[in-house]
Amino acid sequence: MNFWEYLSNRHQQLLTDAYQHASAVFQCMVAATVIGVLIGIVAYRTEWGASLATTATSTILTIPSLAMIGLLIPIVGLGVPPTVIALTLYGLLPIVRNSIVGLRGVDPSLVDAATGIGMSRLMRLVRVELPLAWPPILTGIRVSTQMLMGIAAIAAYASGPGLGNEIFRGIGSLGSKNALNQVLAGTLGIIILALLFDAAYVLIGRLTISRGIRA
């Protein structure tokens, strides 16, 4: 069976896997974005806070993904929970770091002006600082997403959802006639998903970054 025959035979299964893969990454990204930006907001004002946040999140990133999921299984069990937790944690670093860089990059005279015309702290954050820091934050989200696409494949190890199942099945049955097709289908599927997500981010950037600060 060649690769094309394999695809047409298994397209139902592949589409389901791809959908679950995308959905897992998307949901984890939403969680990572919310948590990451919040950490950034809490940390960016002080030097030590910022370095604590960046160091902590980059430490997470140094843990091998297989080991992370392996460590999570005894705590939260198999399936979706270890996948979601691992992906969210891995997604944090680029977002936290770019949030801090973005918020710190806001021109101090603008912050002064915002306070001076009578904005409260919350208002200043929502109306001035976050919109101005948004382009670098969005870049962080893009980088995170690309990263999670690959890492999500490992989730299959903990019987999680996604295209990783194809790859693991293929590796598990190496030498059989469909092994290569499976690995190839899974990998290509992940690459295509990543490209689609990236295109979506370009569109989101167009829609959400003010024309006044777009490069």
């Binding site: 005279s109 015309i117 009578g118 003010s210 006044g212």
Partner: protein, 416 residues
């Protein structure tokens, strides 16, 4: 609302600073030390002084961007030292260097921010934005939807002023607002601010390190030395003619008498009438007029009564029946609104030492010459000197009363 002297309803409010002090933690000397001053409703007061003298800090304490460590601030008689700073700032316009416009918002959105925060209804905000753009000399249709980066520095600064005025605050704080624009634009913006203030009568506190800017804009100038100590707080005229001490005269710089000329307009001095003739008059008539006037020269006006040529006796002799080639063309004129400095400049460049004064449409109104200028300037300086002496006298009395009270207090303290 308090009434100002000229009968307009002043929208400004008084500002009183009472022993205002700022000590930064960890520094032994205060950054601002015991500043007391009273700013009248509807006047422009300039804080001027060398960098690091605490003038900006003093300004920022008025809207509590910097919290004072001691003293009180009263605006319109109301003590605002312990008021919610966010609410306070919405009642005080704030304009800063290089405008501080939010780049992700359009011009209209920038201006609408404060009215939105204080809860104006939408139609009113919309109308206000148009009104303000018009007021600062920007076409609302054209600039409404633009982003700050699509504007020149001067235009940005205008929008900055519009934003500061948006919710119609009685008090306006301006922190070196024109510091980052080129000299020509700065000059325009200063003129605009003076014009605006004529209409609005806000109380404006304006910080600059440029003494010429201070003279041009200020009703009164506070010259500050280190720790925001007031070296002199008086009208520009008084500071120029009678600086309180070496520090102030150092700051005023050379050419105080010349700078003084900027503060008086041609309309304030005597304009002499000169014999004139028009192009339509026959040559013989011109001869007769010249002979009858007792002067050596006569001013020829064109059909619309604008100064055209200076004619001397000799010119007429040589003219031989035609005025086309006779006389010297009038190269420069001044209006009644020109400063005496402009007039002096024109008189100095003129080869006969006089300049024609013209009205709105360029029509002839009179002549100013060297002699009138010198006499007027002498009178002005003399009057200023007397005024300043009087002020100084008052100030000295006040000071001696203060030291007296302090000494009494100190003695009382040692006894107790």
């Amino acid at each position: 609302m308090p009434e100002s002297s000229d009968g307009h309803a002043a929208t400004g409010a008084t500002i009183e600073l009472d022993n205002l002090t700022k000590v930064y933690p960890g520094s032994p000397a205060p950054a601002v030390d015991n500043v007391s001053m009273e700013i009248k409703a509807g006047e422009i007061v300039i804080f001027v002084g060398p960098s690091g003298c605490g003038k900006s800090t003093t300004l920022k304490m008025i809207n509590r961007l910097i919290e004072p460590t001691g003293g009180r601030i009263r605006i319109g008689g109301e003590d605002v030292t312990d008021m919610d700073p966010v609410k306070l700032r919405r009642k005080i316009g704030y304009a800063i260097q290089s405008a501080g416009l939010f780049p992700h918002m359009t011009v209209a959105q920038n201006i609408a921010l404060v009215p939105k925060m204080v809860g104006w209804p939408k139609p009113r905000i919309k109308a206000r934005v148009e009104e303000l753009l018009d007021l600062v000399g920007l076409d609302p249709g054209e600039f409404h939807g633009r982003y700050p980066r699509q504007l020149s520095g001067g235009q940005q600064q205008r929008v900055g002023v519009a934003r500061a005025l948006s919710a119609d605050p009685p008090v306006l704080l301006m922190d070196e607002p024109f510091g980052a624009v080129d000299p020509i634009t700065r000059d325009h913006l200063q003129d605009e601010l003076i014009r605006l203030q004529h209409e609005l009568h806000k109380t404006i506190v304006f910080v600059t390190h440029d003494f010429d800017e201070a003279i041009k804009i200020g009703d009164r100038i506070a010259v500050l030395r280190e720790r925001s100590h007031i070296a002199q707080f008086d009208t520009p005229e008084a500071i120029l003619t009678n600086p309180a001490d070496d520090f102030v005269s150092g700051f005023v710089g050379a050419g105080a008498a010349l700078k003084r000329l900027n503060l008086t307009r041609v309309r304030d001095v005597e304009i002499t009438d000169y014999p004139t003739v028009t192009l339509d008059d026959p040559l013989q008539e011109i001869f007769n007029r010249l002979r009858g006037s007792g002067t050596n020269e006569i001013l020829l006006l064109d059909k619309r009564h604008r100064p055209y040529k200076w004619l001397r006796r000799g010119d007429l002799m040589r003219a031989r029946g035609s005025l086309a080639r006779a006389g010297t063309l009038v190269s420069d004129t001044v209006t009644r609104d020109a400063t005496l400095r402009d007039a002096l400049e024109a008189v100095l460049t003129d080869n006969a030492g006089r300049v024609a004064v013209t009205g709105r449409r360029g029509e002839y109104e009179g002549v100013v010459d060297m002699e009138t200028l010198i006499n007027s300037v002498h009178e002005l300086l003399e009057a200023d000197r007397l005024d300043a002496l009087e002020h100084q006298h008052e100030l000295q009395e006040l000071r001696s009363a203060q030291t007296h009270a302090e000494q009494e207090g100190a003695e009382g303290g040692t006894k107790a």
